[in-house]
């Protein structure tokens, strides 16, 4: 007997509503279908009627968590169209904010993964530590969410020695806490056992469905825009591309934890090698006719802006492809043949921008023709109930560090 289950789409607290309609055979998902567009805002059309400078602040508002990704991707694209060489110090500060954003996003994700797996104290710990990064971003830019740091030719605010020292001090704290989490996760077999083997995505599937970011790297593909197509100062900074071979949610967690450690190293390097000099250069207002394909490694994966200019002070066309869109096709592949109890975990594992909210799930019982409305928290409780009596120690899975 097959059931149809609809996940989503609407909840007032969501900023990215999405609807997934699944065909179930018992508890196993046989097919999944996606419906997007509940929050289509027409930003690409709007960008065509605004100047390049105005679009800086428009692109920043595409996303709340990776606001700096979109703004930087757009800024460096327009800088290439302007044939402008940005100030070196500005590029270092820009890269610094990029990495700080990655740290806050990954810490947020770790917490969400902990919560979806029923490890709620982990969620409390990581979100407490995320405040440290948020405070650093606040010191640098004056804002916690929309930093407004970029401008054409560099950044808008310099950092001084006191800020540098404060960031380095806080970084030590973050580093020691992250190491503590590594040990905590390693000594907690239920957490590791809950994540292992869930949401399988083979290497071939991940490549053919054009997945990006940690989702792709957890399937063993070492693709990272920072290495493949270096922007800002990533060609001068030493770091490693983090991958995992387990192709499941555990792999995605491992990749993100490894990336956190790499990010701390990058931040330390940037602060210790910050060059002297101006932090921005003057940029022209008009841009001659050309086009640019700008790539950026956001915390969730490759972010793409395609900008076409027409000689005026407004772009002819701005095309934005956020990393979550690229991962949707892969998510459907992950959901197939998984359990309904794993939906929250699989969906959270691609780190969609819908982490912290409740969702409505309508369960249609095809046999009885009755509908039952479940909230996301009830679904999570169902998942925890299902896995409560599983003896993870028997599965003998170790934290791969």
């Amino acid at each position: 007997m097959e059931y149809k289950v609809a996940l989503g789409p609407q909840h007032p607290a969501l900023h990215e509503p999405i609807s997934i309609r699944m065909t179930l055979d018992g508890e196993v998902i046989r097919d999944a279908d996606l419906k997007l567009g509940y929050n289509h805002r027409g930003i690409e059309k709007l960008a065509e009627s605004r100047t390049y400078i105005q679009n800086l602040y428009l692109t920043e508002r595409i996303c709340g968590i990776c606001s700096f990704s979109h703004q930087t991707c757009y800024t460096q694209g327009v800088e290439k169209l302007m044939e402008l060489v940005p100030a070196k110090r500005g590029l270092y500060i820009r890269t610094l904010v990029c990495e700080l954003e990655r740290v806050h996003s990954h810490l947020l994700w770790l917490g969400v993964a902990g919560q979806e797996a029923g490890f709620e104290s982990f969620f409390m710990y990581t979100w407490r530590d995320r405040e440290v990064v948020m405070d650093i971003l606040d010191w640098i830019s004056g804002n916690r969410v929309h930093y407004s740091m970029n401008t054409f030719g560099g950044v808008r605010r310099d950092i001084d020695d006191l800020q540098k020292k404060k960031i380095l001090d806080s970084l030590g704290l973050l580093q020691s806490r992250t190491e503590y989490y590594l040990n905590l996760a390693a000594s907690e077999p239920t957490f590791v056992g809950r994540l292992a083997g869930v949401g399988k995505l083979s290497k071939e599937k991940a490549i053919s469905l054009c997945a990006v970011g940690p989702t792709l790297r957890a399937s063993g593909v070492p693709m990272d825009v920072r290495k493949d197509d270096p922007y800002a100062v990533y060609d001068e900074v030493p770091f490693e591309v983090c991958t995992a071979d387990s192709c499941d949610v555990l792999g995605r967690a491992v990749v993100r934890v490894k990336e956190l450690i790499q990010s701390y190293r990058i931040i330390e390097f940037l602060l210790k090698n910050l060059p002297e000099g101006p932090f921005k250069v003057k940029a022209p207002r008009k841009v001659k006719e050309n086009e640019v394909y700008s790539r950026y490694e956001a915390p969730r994966g490759e972010n793409v802006h395609y900008i076409k200019s027409n000689g005026s002070d407004k772009p002819e066309r701005l095309k934005v492809r956020a990393p979550t869109l690229a991962n949707y096709a892969a998510t459907i592949a992950m959901l197939k043949n998984g359990f309904i109890a794993d939906i929250p975990l699989i969906f959270a594992a691609i780190d969609p921008c819908i982490c912290c909210a409740e969702r409505l799930v309508q369960l249609d019982d095809a046999r009885r023709g009755e509908s039952q409305i479940l909230t996301f928290s009830q679904l999570r409780a169902m998942a925890n109930e299902r896995y409560k009596n599983v003896n993870f120690k028997k599965k003998d899975i170790a934290w791969p560090f």
Partner: protein
């Protein structure tokens, strides 16, 4: 492998299938093809040169025609494969047989520009609202947003 050798290889192997290939920026190659040759060229790039990752498909309204750009990347460079399709007959071939991950981008093109993607596995609308009027394509240059007049309930 670097961008220069890739462009040499493209010119050696499939010169008769493409209209133009040029290095436009560091790590960016521009390839122009006719729309009927698109799948052949993408298959060649994927199988011979390892261009497996489709970043996105961008459309642009050029007035008389539409430009569609397929951005595909490998570990060292990105190729922008570009086709033109006339406004009177806005048809493009589907590339899902070569790159399955293209489906969402092709559906987006159908919504936004009114292009007809031939042989698309799933032709449903993707982004626009369910009650969006047929025949209106928001990213075409002749489409303008007219804000409906504000009605104040109980007002004048």
């Amino acid at each position: 492998m670097n961008p220069e050798t890739i462009i040499e290889k493209i010119n050696d192997d499939i010169k008769d299938k493409i209209q133009e290939a040029a290095l436009t920026a560091p790590r960016r190659i521009n390839v122009k093809v006719g729309r009927e040759r698109l799948n052949e060229v993408l298959t060649y790039l994927k199988e011979q040169l390892g261009f497996t990752h489709l970043g996105t498909i961008s459309g642009a309204d050029l007035g008389e025609s539409f430009e569609v750009v397929y951005h595909i990347s490998n570990a060292v460079t990105t190729v922008n494969v570009r086709i033109l399709t006339p406004r009177a007959e806005p048809k493009i071939p589907s590339v899902c047989a070569v790159i399955p991950g293209a489906i969402l981008y092709e559906r987006e093109l159908q919504d936004m520009f009114g292009l007809v993607v031939e042989n698309i596995p799933d032709p449903r609308p993707l982004l626009l609202a369910d009650d969006w009027p047929a025949g209106e394509y928001p990213l075409r240059k002749d489409w303008h947003f007219n804000r409906p007049a504000e009605i104040i309930p109980g007002g004048e």
